[in-house]
């Protein structure tokens, strides 16, 4: 019985698809056939445009519109126009201001550390013989999920009361050095937020290192030689020659990191779900949408996130399409 219903749940959607497709197809086949013969491009770009229209263009407009309407888990029916209420909530409610503060902390600490550490590693690893192996080790986390990494680090931070054997590495170190074990993720608001950010740093530093390393190895070695012959020490060479040359790449990587981290969700969802003042914007949006069924607020939060992202994404997209930017 349970088995049968499970199967039906899974396949309900599967048989719907051909059904929907068939009814659409019947009506449009002759039209499309005629069109694709005159206009083959429609066959090629049509599917992409249809999908993007349905999943990105229409929803963006609808969400902006919905952000001016009240609570309820419907898009159109049974909702009340509330003007700027949801927007007031986004920027003034303590829960949201706390989330915005945390997002700012994530952006600052995460971006500085990943780009800074990535650059330092790129330059330092170039001077040692175990470069390849250590690079692989640092880069591997880029392939694993935030969920997996969150479990890994949750175990690192595991807490057991004083006197019991500690099973988390962090508390074991603290106890070995003569300190008291801590429930790290409860230490609001700074320690726990920083420890969540560490998880994301652990994942992304390898990425920054790989790009910065590619940029560093592109610097002509004669430049560094010349600087040393002129009597500059290693630090001066780094400050005056290497760093200015790496700067454009570092900005590009930094913008990419900001875009990543503004949308941060998984680590917080898995490790604390926003408790103990660790809430972030994306997690709050998810809660308003699914836990509180308040589509109005969820829409406003999503659009706010969109607005924060725009300036950074514009830089990135412009670089992509070769209309300026740093490279």
């Amino acid at each position: 019985m349970a088995r049968a219903s499970r199967v039906s749940v899974v396949f309900r959607g599967l048989w719907r698809v051909p059904q929907v497709l068939w009814s659409c197809t019947r009506r449009t086949t002759s039209f499309v056939m005629r069109r694709t013969q005159e206009r083959p491009w429609l066959f090629f770009v049509g599917p992409a445009l249809l999908i993007l229209g349905f999943f990105l263009v229409y929803p963006s407009v609808a969400t902006v519109w919905r952000s001016f309407y009240g609570r309820g888990a419907t898009l159109f029916g049974d909702i009340r126009y509330v003007g700027l209420d949801n927007w007031r909530y986004v920027f003034t409610h303590p829960t949201m201001t706390g989330a915005l503060r945390n997002n700012a902390l994530w952006v600052g600490v995460f971006t500085m550390t990943t780009v800074g550490l990535g650059t330092a590693l790129a330059v330092l690893l170039d001077r040692v013989r175990y470069e390849r192996i250590l690079k692989s080790v640092i880069f591997v986390p880029a392939a694993i999920s935030y969920v997996g990494a969150s479990v890994i680090w949750r175990f690192m931070y595991a807490y057991r009361p004083a006197g019991m054997p500690q099973i988390g590495v962090l508390n074991a170190l603290v106890v070995a050095l003569g300190g008291e074990p801590q429930g790290w993720l409860l230490l609001r608001p700074w320690v726990n937020n920083l420890l969540l950010i560490v998880v994301a740093i652990w994942i992304w530093t390898g990425f920054c290192m790989v790009i910065m390393s590619a940029a560093y190895k592109n610097i002509p070695k004669q430049l560094l030689e010349a600087s040393r012959i002129d009597g500059a020490n290693e630090w001066q060479t780094f400050r005056k020659v290497i760093l200015p040359l790496l700067w454009p790449t570092a900005t590009v990587v930094g913008v990419t990191m900001v875009v990543q981290v503004l949308k941060t969700f998984d680590v917080v969802y898995v490790m604390t779900n926003g408790a103990f003042e660790t809430e972030v914007v994306a997690n709050r949006m998810y809660k308003e949408m699914f836990n509180f069924r308040n589509y109005g607020r969820a829409s406003a939060i999503a659009v706010a996130l969109f607005l924060f992202l725009v300036p950074f994404m514009v830089v990135n997209v412009r670089r992509f399409t070769g209309q300026g930017g740093a490279r």
């Binding site: 491009w41 770009v45 990105l56 929803p59 330092l124 640092i138 969920v147 690192m156 969802y269 997209v317």
Partner: protein, 284 residues
């Protein structure tokens, strides 16, 4: 190397050693713990096993057996495959078709439409969830494979189309000219010329997109999170953390199961992966 230089480099080695520790220890702890019995996990730190790692009798496969069967991760692993592979295939196909159309077919508004597609990278998926799940509820796609296939395809499409376009538009024009002279239709040109030439780009985009979808939590939660028969590994493990947050024997084994495939892909196809992740880092 003279002694002073060796001494001067000492701090560098110490720094790199510390870094290596921070990157290795967490994963190593996870791996070892996943093979220990629940009783031993809570009575001694996993690092105490290191001096006697050779003693295999202290380890067990029971945790993996438990999570894969009783906790439903076997099903979730299958679901992850059923989600990632078709989603990736569909998005690569749709993106390649569009990229060829935008790069080589002549039609009005071609430039503007392509710019629109690329500009959609700016839109974060969060903005789209509410209207899309509402529409899915109406047409019965919520909590189904086809629903999440299409969602993943759509969210990756601006980037994948752009990446394929930058490769396909670089194919020499002469190839298309001679194909046209031979009377090849656009579709057969696409199949016989564009696709075979684009294999390296296809591989990069495929791997990157696959890993992205495999590791995704948010899209899965939103579209199939409430349907355990479709939900992927990431959702299953997140639920496991909520329900059995102190059962480290289960959590560590479960986390390791989520990592096996992506890490394997990473090591076997590192070259393509690097290219993909470099390009993919701006995904909205």
């Amino acid at each position: 190397m003279n002694p002073t230089k060796l001494l001067g480099r000492f701090p560098i080695h110490v720094f790199l050693l510390v870094i290596a520790f921070v990157w290795v220890v967490p994963t190593l702890g996870l791996l070892i713990t996943s093979f220990r019995t629940p009783g031993e996990i809570v009575t001694s730190g996993w690092w105490t096993t290191i001096p006697r790692l050779y003693d295999v009798s202290q380890f067990t496969l029971q945790n993996y057996h438990s999570v894969l069967t009783r906790e439903g991760l076997g099903l979730a692993f299958r679901n992850s495959l059923f989600i990632s592979v078709p989603s990736t295939l569909i998005s690569v196909i749709v993106a390649s078709l569009a990229a060829y159309g935008f790069a080589w077919l002549k039609f009005r508004g071609r430039k503007a439409l392509f710019l629109l597609v690329v500009a959609l990278m700016v839109v974060p998926m969060h903005v789209t969830f509410i209207p899309v799940i509402t529409a899915f509820r109406r047409i019965g796609l919520g909590g189904t494979y086809p629903g999440i296939w299409l969602a993943h395809t759509a969210y990756g499409l601006p980037l994948t189309t752009f990446l394929m376009h930058s490769f396909i538009s670089g194919i020499p024009k002469e190839l298309f000219d001679s194909a046209a002279i031979d009377g090849s239709s656009p579709l057969s040109t696409f199949w016989r010329i564009v696709m075979p030439i684009s294999v390296p780009a296809l591989a990069s985009v495929f791997i990157f997109q696959f890993l992205w979808i495999w590791n995704d939590l948010l899209v899965a939660l939103v579209f199939v999170g409430a349907t355990p028969d479709v939900a992927p590994l990431t959702v299953a493990v997140a639920n496991l953390v909520t329900n059995r947050g102190q059962n480290w024997e289960l959590l560590t084994a479960a986390a390791f199961i989520t990592m096996v495939l992506p890490v394997f892909v990473f090591f076997s196809l590192q070259r393509y992966f690097v290219r993909g992740i470099l390009a993919g880092s701006v995904k909205g």
